[in-house]
Symmetry: C2
Subunit: 349 residues, 2 copies
């Protein structure tokens, strides 16, 4: 997978673009004025591997709270000020490491200069974030792919013409196919690093499918420097999903990959319960491990060959594999306990 060339920008100590690894971001859904609630969410997301976090800054109270959160946050924070130059300056006063602005509701760029110059002086990048659902009125006649790219580039050009080179662009659409086409077009027209994601992807199940297809297809073409999975559910799921997408594509060798079989009439243990339990136990393991949980010896031992730890379930006893080789046959009563011993050994290795 050859990655598209992009200029590199820095959000605090996190690089985006160039040869930086694809970073994971999410957005808090606690109200920004709820400082403790936000800090709790930040800690949770960080533990799961989130690199960057965005907060909405819709008013002055939120900007002040944002400042309090910045001082205690373990990650660089991005302030989403949508269209307001005033809030943009306030967010910078309060320690924002990056701003997100939405050209869809910025009326014009005539007052952009002082902001662009201040951001350039401080090394604070902007994310120009265009969204299919909030395109500026003047693009309404155009086809959506052109409208999204033109709106994004017009705003990015306005920042760059006024002295800011540290620009990330995000184009998002809720239809993964339009999203794909617009990002391909954008990627070919500039060297800005791209933040990718499918917007309003939906609830957990639908959102995972749309995001995996939409984000996955772009990354496979080498497009995308930072990702956000947008799900209408617990935001921890967004980070876990992003990790799964990157790990499926071999772009982030981190965390446990549980391979489990769909059950069939041959299945002799409760694969779903066991695999889910193991996934939960391993959610915050960052070491890259492959674990296979198969319901029958037929595929279980073959599949286990490529795994760090494998389970091939039998009726009363199951086979445990370690480093791809048969390790022991144990009673199903103690299977999980014996597995956990092997897991600990692998993590400590």
């Amino acid at each position: 997978m050859k990655r598209r060339y992009s200029r590199q920008v820095h959000v605090g100590d996190v690089a985006i673009g160039g040869d930086a690894p694809v970073s994971i971001q999410s957005m808090l859904n606690a109200k920004t004025v709820d400082v403790e609630g936000c800090l709790r969410q930040i800690d949770e997301l960080k533990a799961l591997g989130c690199d960057l976090i965005r907060l909405a800054v819709p008013d002055e109270d939120s900007a002040v709270a944002f400042g309090q959160i910045v001082r205690r946050s373990g990650l660089p924070l991005i302030a989403d000020v949508h269209y307001s130059y005033k809030l943009a300056h306030l967010a910078i006063d309060n320690g924002a490491k990056k701003l997100r602005m939405n050209p869809g509701n910025m009326t014009d760029f005539s007052n952009i200069k002082p902001l662009a110059q201040r951001m350039a002086d401080l090394g604070i990048p902007v994310r120009v974030g265009v969204n299919g659902g909030s395109l500026a009125e003047k693009f309404s006649g155009m086809n959506e792919v052109d409208a999204l790219t033109e709106s994004a580039l017009e705003c990015a050009n306005a920042f760059e013409a006024n002295g800011l080179k540290d620009i990330v662009i995000a184009i998002k659409h809720s239809d993964p196919m339009i999203n794909l086409e617009a990002n391909r077009k954008l990627a070919s027209m500039c060297d800005y690093p791209l933040h990718i994601g499918v917007t309003e992807a939906g609830t957990l199940r639908t959102g995972l499918v749309k995001s995996a297809i939409g984000i996955g297809a772009l990354l496979m073409e080498g497009i995308g420097d930072t990702v956000r999975v947008s799900l209408s559910t617990d935001i921890k799921e967004e980070v876990l999903a992003a990790r799964r997408i990157l790990s499926t594509l071999g772009l982030r060798e981190e965390g446990v990959n549980v391979v489990a079989c769909p059950t069939c009439a041959r299945t002799q243990i409760d694969v779903e319960a066991l695999a889910s339990k193991i996934e939960m136990i391993c959610a915050d393991v960052r070491k890259p491990l492959k674990i296979s949980v198969l319901g029958c010896p037929l595929n279980g031992i073959g599949e286990g060959k490529g795994s760090d730890i494998g389970i091939a379930g039998g009726k009363d006893k199951s086979v445990l594999l370690f480093d791809g080789k048969v390790y022991a046959t144990v009673s199903n009563d103690v299977l999980l306990d014996e597995f956990l011993k092997l897991l600990k050994r692998k993590i400590d290795e």
Copy 2:
């Protein structure tokens, strides 16, 4: 999306390959000898849009039960006999419309002729199903992509050389990237219709991501004539996931597409609860509808423009959109009821 050319085969009244729509299949996890349990699962899967169903036939009792299920099933059934010629013949005696055989555990093809000729006479296709976890020993030195394609083509050629032209091939691997590469290679080497899927994709969340990436990438390249999503969970999820993948790619315009926003500090209603409720209510609606559930007026009205029905949530009252236009502003207490009235109107249209 231009589809790869493939010869067409028929499984009962369901066509696979050629210009046939990409069909959805799943595999029962009730024991085949549990006739009533299998029939219940078949009915459930059919209601959700499953076109073809596979059952394991690991022994003679299962073959007899398979026959009882065939007589009462509303869908054509595929018997998975893995390697046994004897069970293959028994399954045909009992009404199998397609057989799945796994070359990984067929010792040789010297006895294939009577089976191939009988299947050709009866118009029963075979699915040659190769699996990364159960490759034949003789391919063990080879790289996996070559091993998977060679094993599949060797077996398909044996059937074809003995008179059976109605052949579907499936190559499955638990690593979506190896799966992708092997299927690309296979697609370029033959005109057999391809059954695609990522094997042992895992539990719901991980499995959805791996399957959407692996299956989605192939379909986007025009490869794949029938799909199975393999998940270690309720098999209904497999059919729903397949539908979501096909619908995301515009390959199956069927069912309700719920666009919902990730919540942020701007959100004024419980988007997740509302969107999930709507998805559940609509799970068996087959009419293609786009429904948007957004948490704020800012994006809600814009996104709703492209929807059949839209909700743009506000603090106490929310905006309902119909055919993309603002329809009414209603109190949140009656929002779901008013939405359901619009849904009924849309379905009846």
